[in-house]
Symmetry: C2
Subunit: 331 residues, 2 copies
DNA sequence: TTGAAAGCGCTAACAT
DNA sequence: ATGTTAGCGCTTTCAA
């Protein structure tokens, strides 16, 4: 098939080691450099990363395992992470487990067999046993967006409690007291954390939160619409609501537009993520945004740090702040 | 590090070939099968796919190269393709070139060096020279959603002209004659094809299409809002509009809701993709949907066919039909 | 069915 | 700086 370094050696009359040195950026006599480059050009040589990987016991490949690619938050993180990784010479193997813990475990094994050098995972399951396999093999793992108990891995989170708190704060500053929350399934870390933050902030403000003021949807567009309908039915006196992920924000906005409720006159809204959607909304939607690119950057940074050999620095949990972006949907 | 087949051989007292046979599903004496399985269990053996790949000159890895992961259409296709591929034992290396032809070329080389067995690409660039490299190495390429001139590769498309035609047909059946189109940049294959289909259908129906009745946005949410604003300003007498991708549909809907225009009373709309969004919209949005899962299935099927050794069947272009899903946004 | 041995393309020690 | 050599973990003849 393709040419190998042997062919280059033969063509140039040099030894294998010289070619290898050249390929790995070590110093090579100018004259030989030219020779090698000519031969490479002529024979269309390209390094065989597989062979290299076998020898060095490194694949220069990272596994990214996520619950759902069809979720803009996931997609944004991946897109940024993949970009940085590729610049550093790492390939990204993507696995989408469709929010299914069985598939997630299978994917972990799959990536293990593939000998990926490291793993970035936004976990679906709550327990880290299958991840231990990675750690045991000294392969770094970075957990994204969610926390896993008793797992000694680096972790990049967002301050979800604070995010919800900020929203409550903003509503209060405009005088709202009857505030609703639409969050996600309580077995999802972020959904639970946002609820917790919401309740704490409300309690701090001395505001009541009845059960029906908090609706747990399913993090989808339709779920968001349904949740908003339910919230308004059961708690009609509510004047403000926080919707705690992007897809549900889209759904909630659709529902509100349909019911003829005017934002912010009849109801104030704070949504989540996707600045582009918020900007296009009318009136411009106030949102909590998560720093997806920075999450990716931190996670990749941590992974690269461990990959570069640093296994002794204790594992750390990076907690990134969210931003509140003022629109015109709160009054 | 991990155990190798040598360790298994030593542990069981068998030869390397026997272990290898077992691993590759060839028949092995029952007694030995048990021995081997016990040893594998005991030593936590796992095949090294890298070594296997070096020997067999196959990586069992497919490259997927796309213009933008933050685009639900792309994300849906990838998510389905990755699922099938993994079930077949193939890993998926994802490359997002951010709609940048330079990055796209780099990614092609990157994947080539990685010796992926095949490539699925939704091209950004219009010329296929860098893809020729793949073909020359006898690695199958499947082109998704867009066509590349003079490239002898399998291709999976959607009938974009017909999609636009269907929408025009639907509008006409309700008596509309002043129909607008919001499509994408004309250097994007699908955007141009949808425009072409729209114009042909209008011409067939004997309807006029002035320049300002067709607005080319940029396939983003904000672009969709802007395009709808422009369309209504320049052609206020329009009573119906087709929006030719999902992101722009979201934007257009936002703009319409804001301007107080009622759907479908004041304006009929047909959007594109994402049934979930359409269902949640109020009134339920009529849309053209593309069969993302089937696109993925066809593409993977073609790739697997070539990978299984069939290089002689002439390359084919599969054209999939779109669906029109009736909502309540046309009257 | 099984074992012995060669070799895939590369890197890395060692020698020069 | 360069050449020689061994070997990474596997598959695959070839013989038994």
């Amino acid at each position: 098939m393709g040419a190998t370094i042997k062919d280059i050696a033969r063509e140039t009359g040099l030894g294998l080691a010289t070619i290898s040195s050249y390929l790995n950026g070590k110093s090579v006599r100018e004259k030989n450099r030219v020779k090698i480059e000519t031969a490479i050009e002529k024979l269309h040589f390209e390094v065989n990363e597989t062979a290299r990987g076998l020898k060095t016991n490194q694949t220069r490949t990272i596994g990214i395992l996520i619950p759902e690619l069809n979720n803009v938050f996931c997609a944004e993180i991946i897109s940024e992470a993949e970009d940085i990784l590729r610049q550093k010479g790492y390939a990204t193997i993507l696995c989408d487990c469709r929010t299914d813990t069985r598939r997630e475990e299978e994917a972990i094994d799959f990536l293990l067999h593939r000998r990926v050098d490291g793993l970035m995972i936004m976990p679906t399951g709550e327990d880290g046993r299958s991840l231990e396999k990675f750690l045991r093999r000294k392969r770094p793992v970075v957990v994204l967006d969610r926390k896993i108990k008793d797992l000694d891995a680096d972790c990049v989170l967002v301050n979800n409690e604070d995010a919800a708190g900020k929203a409550v704060e903003r509503f209060r500053s405009s005088g709202h007291t009857k505030i609703g929350l639409i969050t996600g399934p309580q077995d999802i870390y972020t959904a639970a954390a946002r609820k917790r933050g919401f309740q704490m902030a409300m309690a701090d403000a001395g505001l009541e939160v009845s059960d029906s003021m908090v609706v747990c949807g399913d993090y989808t567009i339709q779920g968001g619409a349904k949740a908003m309908r339910k919230l308004r039915e059961e708690e009609p006196e509510i004047t403000a609501a926080l919707v705690a992920n992007y897809e549900m924000t889209v759904g909630a906005m659709i529902e509100i537009n349909e019911s003829g409720v005017r934002i912010p006159r009849d109801m104030s809204i704070i949504g989540f993520d996707n600045l582009e959607f918020a900007k296009a909304s009318a009136p411009r939607l106030s949102i909590i945004t998560q720093p997806t690119r920075q999450i990716a950057r931190e996670a990749v940074g941590l992974l690269l740090l461990r990959l570069s050999g640093d296994r002794q620095t204790p594992t750390q949990t990076v907690v990134l702040p969210t931003d509140y972006i003022e629109g015109k949907s709160v009054s």
